[in-house]
């Protein structure tokens, strides 16, 4: 692999980053939608909880995880967006490494999503007094998961070459993970079979790690989850590198 010019990567990422702010739909999906989701579910489930732990304490955390694993939608759409196809083609012709095309998409959507989701987290967590603890560790999880899901979106684009397939796969995979992992409603209480099925979902691992750290200062789930995420990120990047072909960016 030819060395990647970091300055090029920075320049292209910066343009991509600016481009993400231009489409109001990206902002809606990453900023408004998560807040709406947390507010709606939190208020609806409020009466089911007593005083010690509120509905927001549960749904705030799980829906943040849901939002973060959905970032793949943003990166996949940013990669193959209509307005960005022609600039991509120019980069192919420009001197330098063409890998900056997809790396810049990963970097820029990572930055964009992280910024949006941190805003959502700060806003909702203070507004609804959601209990958090072990903030540095949670931030590590947030950053790693964000990188993984953004990479995943780009990976599906690299494999299937079309945005439509990537979208279709992402929307189903993310939602199956979310339901299995109990992000949209708690799955733990539905019997032993469902409980063991839920561990198939990485979202479950994230939720377990977060809740164990927040409520019990128990870091037993944290380290395996971090290791798993790092491994998954490496795999995603390798697959991107193997399947990306610059010919696909020609339009």
């Amino acid at each position: 692999m030819i060395a990647i010019n970091l300055r090029n990567l920075y320049l292209i990422s910066r343009e991509d980053f600016k481009n993400l702010f231009k489409n109001p739909m990206w902002l809606f999906y990453n900023l408004v939608f998560p807040i709406l989701l947390i507010v709606v579910l939190g208020f609806l489930q409020k009466d089911n909880y007593g005083g010690a732990v509120s509905a927001f304490d549960y749904y705030g955390i799980t829906l943040m995880i849901y939002t973060v694993i959905s970032s793949g939608m943003t990166s996949a759409n940013a990669f193959m967006e209509v307005t960005i196809r022609k600039p991509n083609m120019r980069i192919i012709y420009a001197p330098g490494n063409e890998r900056v095309i997809y790396l810049a998409k990963i970097v820029s959507s990572f930055g964009f999503c992280l910024l949006c989701h941190l805003t959502v987290a700060v806003l909702t967590f203070t507004l609804f007094k959601i209990r958090v603890d072990a903030i540095p560790q949670l931030l590590i999880l947030l950053v790693l998961t964000e990188l993984f899901s953004v990479g995943l979106g780009v990976m599906f684009c690299c494999i299937f070459k079309t945005e439509a397939t990537a979208n279709q796969i992402l929307s189903i995979v993310i939602n199956i993970f979310a339901i299995l992992g109990g992000l949209l409603f708690p799955m733990e209480g539905y019997g032993a079979v469902v409980r063991s099925l839920s561990y198939l979902s990485p979202a479950k691992w994230l939720a377990n790690a977060s809740f164990a750290m927040i409520y019990d200062h128990n870091f037993a789930w944290f380290y395996p989850t971090v290791m798993g995420l790092i491994l998954a990120i490496i795999v995603v990047f390798i697959i991107c590198a193997k399947t990306f072909r610059k010919e696909d960016c020609i339009c």
Binding site: Y29, D57, I179, L184, I214
Partner: protein
């Protein structure tokens, strides 16, 4: 109209990879729905903390035999995170003096219920909560996926708009109504047929799916109609596929949760609950629930009619909107 339909089929056939992947995913999603609902147990989960050398009293053994509770005996108190994640609904700790202490994060009403159960374990039965049966659960889980698939399969319509093919269609003798119906037919069939086949296979394998296959055919038809109408409605507003796509999935997730497609959210007949009936998903799931329990009434039929009506409204708006955008008056 048929020409549009055929053309869409050819376009899909050109992308076999996409076709295969999307069909596999559809099958996976529906199988997951069947698998999950087949194993769901809706019992209250209690943790009974018995410090060592303590013998279970008669009362506690009776509690464990109660069919409405799933009691787990533990030696130490479970972690708070297990309670937050609803692993246990309540923790009953037996103190050295034989008294019980109940810890729960659920509402006071739930705590009172556990207290009553603990006081009289043999005779205890919870108030008859409306528990959903298999068929309703399967359709509830499928609903969100089918609706999202609709928006995704509307991509040929979106592509027509994105690549301005639609301007040429506007010049052709084909009326817009027919053109959109062609797209609609395509979306309808590609959603309804695979999902029905998966359920058919499940029924043949002897899995309990709640309804008979002809009933499922009708219900999936209604759902596919709603998905198609919503997809065309949404896409008629935007020039770019991504926008419709992301907005569509956001709306569908939010409304499906609100409508209680996974579990019923609101119990009392509040104003909010009445407003929720504006969501077609809520009416649909109510109708299915009534159908499965055999408690159909005039109002549940009205709910089904509402689903048809709102689909029709979506379609009409989609046609009117597209005509407005692309025909010159």
């Amino acid at each position: 109209m048929l020409a549009v339909f055929k053309n869409n089929c050819n376009r899909l056939w050109e992308e076999k990879m996409y076709l295969v992947v999307s069909l596999i995913l559809m099958i996976v999603a529906i199988s997951a729905a069947i698998l999950l609902t087949a194993h769901i147990e809706t019992k209250g989960n209690l943790a009974l903390v018995v410090p060592d050398q303590q013998v279970l009293s008669e009362r506690e053994s009776a509690l464990m035999a109660n069919p409405y509770f799933n009691v787990t005996v533990l030696e130490t108190t479970p972690e708070t995170s297990a309670l937050v994640q609803s692993r246990y609904d309540a923790v009953v700790t037996i103190n050295a003096d034989g008294n019980d202490a109940i810890t729960t994060i659920k509402n006071p009403a739930f705590k009172t219920m556990v207290e009553t159960a603990l006081a009289n374990p043999t005779g205890f039965a919870p108030d008859n909560r409306p528990i959903r049966q298999t068929g309703t659960n399967i359709l509830g889980f499928m609903m969100m996926f089918l609706l999202m698939q609709g928006v995704l399969y509307a991509r040929f319509f979106a592509e027509d708009k994105e690549k301005h093919l639609i301007r040429r269609i506007a010049m052709s003798p084909l009326p817009f109504g027919h053109y959109l119906l062609g797209h609609g037919l395509f979306i309808f069939l590609i959603i309804a047929v695979p999902s029905f086949l998966v359920l058919g296979v499940a029924a043949l394998m002897g899995i309990d799916i709640g309804f008979s296959l002809p009933v499922y055919a009708g219900l999936i038809g209604v759902l596919a109609l709603l998905a198609t109408a919503f997809a065309l409605f949404l896409n008629s507003f935007f020039e770019v596929a991504d926008t419709a796509n992301m907005l569509g999935s956001a709306i569908i997730i939010l409304t499906s949760i609100l409508a209680g497609s996974f579990y019923s959210l609101s119990k009392e007949a509040t104003l909010f609950d009445k407003l929720l009936h504006l969501l077609p998903q809520k009416d649909f799931i109510n109708f299915v629930n009534a159908l499965e329990k055999g408690s159909l009434s005039q109002s549940t039929f009205a709910q089904l009619v509402y689903v048809f009506a709102i689909s029709a409204v979506f379609l009409v708006i989609a046609v009117a909107n597209t005509r407005n955008d692309y025909l010159y008056h």
